[in-house]
Structures are given as structure tokens and as C-alpha cells.
Symmetry: C2
Subunit: 224 residues, 2 copies
DNA sequence: AGTAAGCGGATATCGTCAATCCGCTTAGCT
DNA sequence: AGCTAAGCGGATTGACGATATCCGCTTACT
């Protein structure tokens, strides 16, 4: 699936380097977002820039290659959630799990959130995910476990709202974003209006200050 | 307060241009955020770059000049909120009003949110605001109108969570962010666990797509 | 052993932004 | 009315960061 049936197979060192580049890219995209340069990736892979550009025409190609699979994983989570009989669990499982994934991979968040990123294949997957979310929300509303004025697009905005929290606390207090997800979920759940115990304590004002100060520059890059 | 008692007053054309620059800066900072360049501002003011740099050493000086007042307005809102006898109204008035201000002024949001921005005077004001928020939250908790595990720093993160929503919908559907603020407030209010009517309908999936696509690049600039 | 494939990384190119400089204009004084 | 310091515009310079190429050397494979 990775290599077309070309006359000659790739030379051994070449394919090793290709893997190294993919690994490095995975790591850097996850940690710093899609803004890292091919030069960064090459250096991280312990390989010359030339090598990087010989294997991938540009960063986009690398992104498309890597994230199709990551997005399919998100799609799979949505499908699994639809197998869950309890509609509230289904919806929250989807949210919790995919946010977890996005928390661990800034690039994944960016490509999920920004429809201008990625090629046709990426778009395909995104297009397949949307109706699954619609269905998850519909079921939850039909079962009366979610307020009736909640809509599928609210899921999208909620995800984008989590991004700055994730980015500012990633290195400092990993699961703080779940605290805010909980507030949000307590604001839309209708079958049980008691408060869910918060999965993480609030940050002290000092740590909050540090978090806001050390926020990583969001390094997304616009499409050419 | 603006001009020191210097030997000669500023020449008339000079002070007119100074005002023009301040107006242009206010407008551009509000609309595009603090990332705009002094050149942008000069052009917008209908004035040469040289003039801009003669009046203000750099963008920072301009920012500090303009935003001290804006931040004081936020402080004033907090103080007014503390005059409000009902603790829930007090807290939500503060949130609603300051978010409204931030919605109308991207620069204000940035400087409120990023402690590395602004000079000592700006920092002073920020330092004065923090304890007011602590007090607003304390009162609400003491009165039992807000869940007991809610903390003042949650206000900070909630504000930063609204930013991407505001930025993606500003030109498309001005008050959508209030919808998400409402979800959030319904998730922390403890005296009344019914749902607050949403101030704005959900965006259609098409409009949401447009919103995510046309999101303005966040143009904050790091300090030197 | 020969050679096509691959390699590294210095370097060219581009775009963006900050900041200066200088020839011309004008406000304000006498 | 004439003088001059102050002000003006904006082309230009310089720094920087990112992308992408090029080319002399090396290596895998037959």
C-alpha cells in the first residue's frame, strides 16, 4: 500500500531513511503540530534535507501520508461508539477518546479541525466522520439524555474550544482539559443533572500563570 | 497625561497624525489582533511609516499606551460586578460583559490572556483584576449558586476556550460564542439545574465548515 | 568493478517584518 | 514675508525563517 509495484524496489538505505523520516514526522507533528518544517523533520530523523525532499515532494505529502491513518482511527472510534448501546456512554466515549487522541497529537487536532488541510483522501475520511457524529447526537437526544437544543455542530466547536486549554497545559498538567470537558458535559446532560466529579483539580493561580506564559506557538501553516 | 510638560508643544500636524495613528491602531488591534505591523497601522491611518516610527518607538509602546485604558475598563466591570448583590448575576455579568468586550477586540483578548504581553502598567492592571475574580467566585460558591469544586482559575481557562470560537465565527454569526458560554454556565450553576435557553441557534454544518475554513490567523507576536 | 541510486547539507530564493534615512514640505515664529 | 526647525512620506535596507534545489561524494546492488 505504501510502495507502488515499480520496476525496481527501493534501495535498502533509501527505504530505511524513508521510515526514519516517517517516524520523525509522526513524532514532531504530534508534539509541535503541523508547522514543523521538512528541515526540522530531516534533522530529527538524522538525515539530510535533500533526502527528505527526495522522498516527499513537500510537507503536505508527508502529512497526507501520515494522517490518513490517524483519521481513520478517529473514524473507527466513532463507529465503535455507535456499537455502544447506552447513548450517553456512546457520545461521551467518542468525545473522551478522540479528545485524548488529539491531546496526544497536535497535528491530529489541527487536521481534524481545519478543513483546508489535507488532500482528497483526508477529506474523504473527514466526510465519513461527520454523519457518525450526527447519529451519535441524534441518538442521545432521542433517548433524552442530552438537552434537546444540542446539535451536532456543537461537537465541533467544543473540540476547538479545548485546543487552547490542551496547548497551554500539555506539559504542565496533562489532564486538566478533562476538567473543562466535564463542565461542558454537565451543561448538556439532561437525564442526570447532578455534577460529575471532576477528573482533575483546578490549577493554582501560579501554575495557571506559567501555563499561559509558556503556551506553545500554534504552528499550523496555510495551504499554498 | 499623554504629553509631558516639554519646552515646546507638539506641532499641530504632528499631534493630528498622532491621533490618527492611535485611532488606526485601536481599530486594527481590535479587528486583527496585536500581530498587525506598525506599517499596517500607518497605512490604515493614511500616514507614512516614518511618521509612525517617529511617534512610537515600536509596536509595543503603542500597545501599552492603548491597552492600559482598555484593561482598566475590564477592571471597572469586575468592580461593578462586585457591587451586584446577587452572586450569580455578579459572576455571569462579569463573564458576559468582559467576553463581549473581548469579542469586539481581539487585541484585548490577547493581552488579557497572555501575561508576557504588555509593560509594567499593563501588568499592574492585570494584577488588580485577579483578586476581584477570586472574590466573585468565592461569593458565588459561598452562596451555593456555583458548584463547590469550581475555582477562580477556571475562569481563565474558560476565557481562553472561547477564543477559537469567537475567532472562527466573528464575521459569520456574531453571538454564537454565547451559546457555548451558556453550556458552560449550565455546567457550573448549582442553585438551578434547569437548562438556560440558548441565546443563539447552532450553526448549520455548512456554515460551520465555512467558519472553520475562514478562521483568521491568530496574529499575536512574541515579546522581544 | 561499474554504475545508477542515494546521500548530505550548503546555498539560492522568496516572503515578511522592523526600522532607518533623506529629500521635500510646512507650521509657527518674528 | 521669509526663515528654519520640525515634520513628513515611503523607498529601502537588513534580519530572519521557511522552502526547495543542486552537486560533489558515497554506497548498494549486479
Amino acid at each position: 500500500m505504501t510502495t507502488a509495484p515499480s520496476p525496481r524496489p527501493m534501495r535498502k538505505d533509501a527505504s530505511i531513511n524513508r521510515e526514519r523520516l516517517l517516524d520523525a514526522a509522526r513524532e514532531l507533528f504530534a508534539e509541535k503540530g503541523l508547522g514543523v518544517t521538512l528541515n526540522d523533520i530531516a534533522r530529527h530523523a538524522g538525515v539530510g534535507v535533500g533526502t527528505a525532499y527526495r522522498r516527499f515532494a513537500n510537507k503536505e505529502e508527508l502529512i497526507d501520508t501520515l494522517f490518513e491513518e490517524r483519521l481513520q482511527a478517529v473514524e473507527a472510534v466513532a463507529r465503535e461508539a455507535l456499537d455502544e448501546p447506552d447513548p450517553w456512554t456512546a457520545l461521551t466515549d467518542y468525545l473522551t477518546r478522540t479528545l485524548q487522541m488529539q491531546f496526544g497529537d497536535r497535528g491530529l487536532h489541527q487536521i481534524l479541525d481545519d478543513p483546508t488541510l489535507g488532500d482528497a483522501r483526508i477529506n474523504d475520511v473527514r466526510t465519513r466522520i461527520a454523519p457518525l457524529i450526527v447519529e451519535l447526537v441524534r441518538r442521545a437526544k432521542d433517548a433524552g439524555v442530552v438537552r434537546s437544543d444540542f446539535e451536532p455542530t456543537d461537537v465541533t466547536f467544543m473540540q476547538s474550544a479545548m485546543a487552547p486549554i490542551m496547548d497551554s497545559t500539555r506539559d504542565l498538567a496533562p489532564q486538566v482539559y478533562e476538567r473543562y470537558l466535564t463542565f461542558f458535559l454537565d451543561g448538556i446532560r439532561s437525564d442526570d443533572r447532578t455534577f460529575t466529579p471532576l477528573p482533575a483539580p483546578a490549577l493554582s493561580s501560579e501554575i495557571t500563570h506559567t501555563a499561559m506564559t509558556s503556551r506553545r506557538r500554534s504552528t499550523a501553516r496555510r495551504r499554498a
